[in-house]
């Protein structure tokens, strides 16, 4: 019989620390462990069960995508028919497959997210090259906007990760508004840079000011105004 010296409860013979208070329990009967333990070393089958279903779904999607590749490839090589359209279909097929792979969560979330970003960029580049466009929209718009979105979502995820245990009615709206402000400023900047040749923000500034006010309001409601500031404000405003 073993007892926890701190909380005084009897514990099983083979434990090293008290299951209640984590206080270390001296090992009096060396050697004869685990024979007496009441429960086996449990196996968690959740991942396995879950993975099985996921693999099945992904496998079916891959088969469909690959068979499409084969069909399109054969048509492309054998049958002289609208080659540009076939190339578009091929790009779309690969893009969808890659997106499904990254959204399945096989990798670490950060890598999945990066993968999705790279897929978008490569798809845009492919479409740009296939279309043979002269306007340079890929470098001027597609790449900057995709990169902006990637950075903005990264910022949102970073902030959300650190605030998700706080009040969801305050922090989720604040984060979303911040996300929209950053996105608006970025898009406004990219458009003005391309159209006017220099960065000059217009409508996004209005959004930024309004959004910032809402964020400050929400955060003030959550944190309350500190006593010192309140006193100072009362004095200044003569109330």
């Amino acid at each position: 019989m073993a007892y926890c010296p701190k909380c005084g409860v009897e514990v099983e013979d083979d434990v090293r620390s008290c299951p209640l208070c984590d206080f270390p329990i001296p090992d009096v009967n060396e050697g004869r462990h685990s024979e007496d333990s009441k429960y086996p070393q449990a196996i968690n089958t959740y991942d396995e069960d879950h993975l099985g279903k996921k693999n099945k779904a992904f496998f079916s999607i891959t088969i469909i995508a690959l068979s499409m590749v084969v069909i399109i490839g054969v048509i492309y090589l054998v049958y002289p028919w609208n080659h540009v359209l076939l190339r578009y279909i091929m790009v779309a097929d690969f893009c969808v497959l890659a997106m499904v792979f990254f959204s399945m969560g096989y990798l670490h979330p950060n890598y999945n997210f990066l993968g999705a970003y790279i897929t978008v960029v490569i798809t845009c580049l492919s479409v740009y090259l296939i279309s043979g466009s002269q306007s340079g929209w890929f470098l001027n718009f597609a790449l900057p906007i995709a990169t902006l979105l990637y950075l903005d979502v990264s910022l949102f995820r970073f902030i959300f990760k650190h605030t998700r245990h706080k009040s969801q009615f305050v922090f989720i709206p604040s984060n979303l508004i911040l996300f929209v402000i950053v996105l608006a400023i970025g898009i406004d900047g990219i458009i003005s840079l391309n159209v006017l040749g220099s960065v000059s923000l217009t409508w996004s500034l209005i959004m930024a000011v309004a959004g910032t006010c809402i964020i400050i309001l929400l955060q003030t409601i959550y944190h309350r105004i500190p006593e010192k500031t309140r006193k100072m404000m009362k004095k200044k405003m003569h109330v």
């Binding site: 409860v9 299951p19 209640l20 196996i43």
Partner: protein
Amino acid sequence: MMAEKNPKKKFYSLDNAGVLYTAIASSRMTTVYRMTVELSEAVEPMTLQNALELIIHRFPYFQVTLKRGFFWYYYEHTEAIPKVEEETYYPCKTMRQRQGKTFPFRVLYYKKYIHVEFNHSICDGSGGLAFLQTLIIEYFKRLKGIIPENIGKAMDLDAEVDPGEFEDSFKVYYEENVPPPPSSKKVFHFPFELLDKGEYLLLTGFVPVTPMLALAKSHGCTLTQFILALYFESIQEYIIGLPISENKKRRQRIAINVPVDLRRMFPSITLRNFFISLNPEIDLALGYYTRAEIIEQIKGYMGLYMNRKHINRYISRNVRNQQLIFLRIIPLWVKKLLMPVVYKRYGERSYTSGLSNLGVVTVPEELRPYVKSFEVFPPPSAESRLKMVTVSYDNKLALCFGKTTSETVIEKLFFSKIRQLGIPVKIETNKR
């Protein structure tokens, strides 16, 4: 077709609680509870398997498999025979449905322990215990040739199956025009970090019954009420101990879900679900509660609400909700998508934790030397991360916690209160 002694029913529609349990089941909320019995010697798997094969025919309503209908799940009879398994996984693991092969229960063994895990959609603790007791009696009949005289609450294998054993007693006692009970308020929830999905921790404290009962008597309440009071006090102490920045939490209500077995109040012999939960509560915004005040509060609450008339409001509301036509016509897959969210938001918000007392379990006199203890663990839940079931056997009261968090602060406070009363506690857990 072979002429059968008991004409077996082919389908069993779910009872009122079963409908809810199947709809909310997920990989975390498995709705599976566990009953453990400790024997004096290691379990013989072959004998246990034989015993299970012999008794399963007496429980045709458990020899079933869960099927998906278009609107609801239902249970269908299966000729397959359940197999006993050695315990290797976490307790109360999700029950997968494979057409015609899986049962709503599993029988596990490990060393000296037999565990029976039941899906709550098929039966409640009372029905499960009847099955477990029958299994133990048959096991020892095979192993040691013991034929007990008085089998107590266990089922007689030679008797005919009474249709009352699988009736939906909620429907029997449903009255159409009874108004619903008052709606419940949001209460304090444990802010502990959840375990990974699929994991579940058990922690049992064994205490002697006699001194606990004497203490309960001296406070003028029942044993359940006394344990409940100690539990309330532990949660209150935890909240009071929170840092001052969590000021809002210190003014919340604590409510504990206490299931009431209705079989005594509404005569029924059903082995399926037949219980209603009451939520006694204390409101910390009103100030600090002493032990005597908590006991008064619980006694008053139970005195006011534990009667046929009030309970009938819950039964009637639940059955009425189930019969609402616009809920019935929603296809099952939509229900399955919505119900876990709805339940998480509204079902569990009105209680902090649960405490269920299954009372005294007995085995026939002849088996007492071979059966050492009983434990029952609640099904895992995401919102109420710590729940308790108590059961007593042979002057040993098992206070069984099941939890989806690795925090032990509440149990520590709870058992230290029992230690301070001068009662010895023995702790067993599957946490490593």
